[in-house]
């Protein structure tokens, strides 16, 4: 109970400090609209003359990319890795080591608060262009989709955050972690389906992508929401997604502990 109160305060402080960046998130949101325009023009041209691509109509593809933008702001790790790396580099991390607080949980709570802010703000640009978008969007009607979306989003957020956390911890060993971060970001962007829906890949590559954790970081919830995955496959996906969360958590723990050893070795 006491622990909950502790993290509730962290959450509220995180909320406040992220509200400071409301303009940044808003501007980012509007830039995303420009990227959405690129997507619409590109796929609009691709659909000229073909009714379906990979079994999906143009409306379904547009819906997929629009959903991606909303989901990015709701569960994406933006610069958590950088923040964590900075705290390690400039020694701010030490104050957490002295306090009865779990750094991972503390960071995750701040991350959640940040996503509540950015997730709410992304709807501003989306609402602004909704009159233009409306005729292009087609969401499937099944009730299980929104219901399963919630846990899928939570687990995806956990995955995204934990990966960012691990990358941030690399700062225990390396002075500069931005290179790693952006390299993994490129892989993640591609393999989580943010460049194109993954089911458009050749089947063998698509199956390969499903074996990787990135698939569950964005594509999986997006596919549940926009109807690119059926119920049995979704349930099956949950098992894999939960497995990855567990694996990532163990890795984060391991990296944290060995990083800490290294840290004290330098400091002491």
């Amino acid at each position: 109970m006491q622990a909950l109160t502790k993290y509730r305060h962290v959450f509220l402080v995180g909320l406040q400090s992220n509200l400071v960046y409301r303009w940044n998130f808003l501007i980012r949101g509007f830039f995303s609209l420009a990227r959405l325009a690129v997507v619409f023009i590109l796929w609009g041209a691709a659909y000229a003359g073909v009714a379906q691509i990979g079994g999906y109509s143009i409306g379904q593809t547009f819906t997929y990319f629009t959903a991606l933008i909303a989901l990015q702001f709701m569960i994406g790790a933006f610069n958590e890795d950088y923040q964590i790396g900075e705290e390690i580099r400039n020694g701010l991390i030490n104050q957490f080591l002295l306090k009865p607080i779990n750094y991972y949980l503390y960071r995750f709570t701040v991350f959640l608060a940040a996503r509540v802010v950015s997730g709410a703000l992304v709807f501003v640009p989306l609402v602004v262009i909704f009159p233009l978008l409306r005729s292009h969007l087609t969401l499937p009607g099944e009730l299980w989709r929104p219901l399963l979306l919630v846990p899928a989003l939570l687990l995806a957020a956990l995955l995204q955050f934990t990966l960012a956390f691990c990358f941030g911890l690399l700062a225990f060993w390396f002075l500069e972690i931005q290179g790693f971060v952006i390299l993994s970001f490129a892989a993640e962007t591609l393999l989580s389906g943010q460049i194109f829906p993954l089911d458009l890949l050749p089947p063998s590559l698509f199956h390969f992508a499903q074996l990787l954790p990135f698939y569950y970081m964005m594509y999986f919830p997006a596919a549940i929401l926009t109807g690119r995955i059926d119920l049995p496959a979704a349930l099956h996906g949950f098992v894999a997604q939960a497995g990855w969360v567990l694996l990532f958590a163990i890795a984060a723990r391991f990296i944290w502990l060995s990083g800490l050893r290294k840290h004290t070795a330098v400091g002491g």
Partner: protein, 247 residues
């Protein structure tokens, strides 16, 4: 150059990063053309040539000017910009050409290879004059990119906090990977005619693919002069403002 080679590991890492992004773009073309034969009248290798051209211009900008202009934005904010003003010589020239970025240059080679591969698959034999023409148009494209980026960073003179303003440059550049014929209505007016986002890559690519068209070349040439003039004008206005603000 020597400065950067001291961080050799960094160099390889960032090259890998760039390579990864380039592969992402190439893969997108690959995937789309699995499902369709033509995109706004462009076939797969024509599209690849367009994407390659667009990347090439961007990498050249990265190699020659990016970090310099990026630092300028930061220096204006911190006041370290005084250093450049104190030097003899044109401040814009001093700011823009301070150092080269080997990663960007190395990646230009990769982007050029993409263009070469696409041209090879298309069976293009442009000849010396064709290649020179393509390079001249690329140079125009580079001038336009430079101007756009200079414009966004020059805003620092007015709005001190411009972190993220580079995003607007990237946003415009995003459109340059699309074929001109895909644009309709408002997007056509804005991105093709008002902003030079699309012609920057489309004109060199189409010239290489379908041969020299004076109208296009003139259009791009005129656009590069106009945008450079505008950017220099804004930069100089900003410079005046900076001088008066700091004294």
């Amino acid at each position: 150059m020597v400065r950067t080679m001291m961080f050799r590991f960094d160099f390889f890492l960032w090259s890998a990063v760039e390579l990864a992004w380039m592969s992402v773009n190439v893969l997108l073309v690959e995937v789309i053309y699995r499902h369709t034969d033509s995109l706004a009248g462009w076939n797969k290798y024509e599209m690849l040539l367009l994407v390659g051209t667009s990347m090439l211009i961007q990498r050249l900008l990265m190699g020659f000017f990016w970090s310099n202009l990026f630092e300028m934005g930061r220096n204006v904010r911190t006041g370290a910009f005084d250093f450049y003003l104190a030097q003899p010589g044109n401040p814009l020239f001093m700011v823009s050409t301070r150092k080269l970025d080997p990663d960007g240059l190395a990646n230009s080679v990769v982007a050029a290879a993409v263009v070469y591969y696409a041209a090879h698959r298309l069976g293009l034999h442009p000849g010396v004059s064709g290649v020179l023409l393509y390079m001249a148009l690329l140079a125009c494209g580079l001038v336009i990119h430079y101007s756009l980026f200079l414009l966004t960073t020059s805003l620092t003179f007015w709005i001190i906090k411009t972190e993220g303003i580079e995003g607007s440059y990237f946003t415009v550049v995003d459109f340059s990977r699309l074929p001109r014929e895909a644009f309709h209505g408002f997007a056509n007016v804005l991105m093709v005619y008002l902003l030079p986002a699309v012609i920057v890559s489309n004109v060199p690519a189409i010239t290489l693919i379908r041969g020299f068209r004076p109208v296009y070349a003139l259009w791009l040439g005129a656009a590069s002069v106009a945008w450079l003039s505008l950017a220099v004008f804004v930069f100089n206005r900003g410079l005046k403002r900076y001088a008066s603000a700091s004294s």
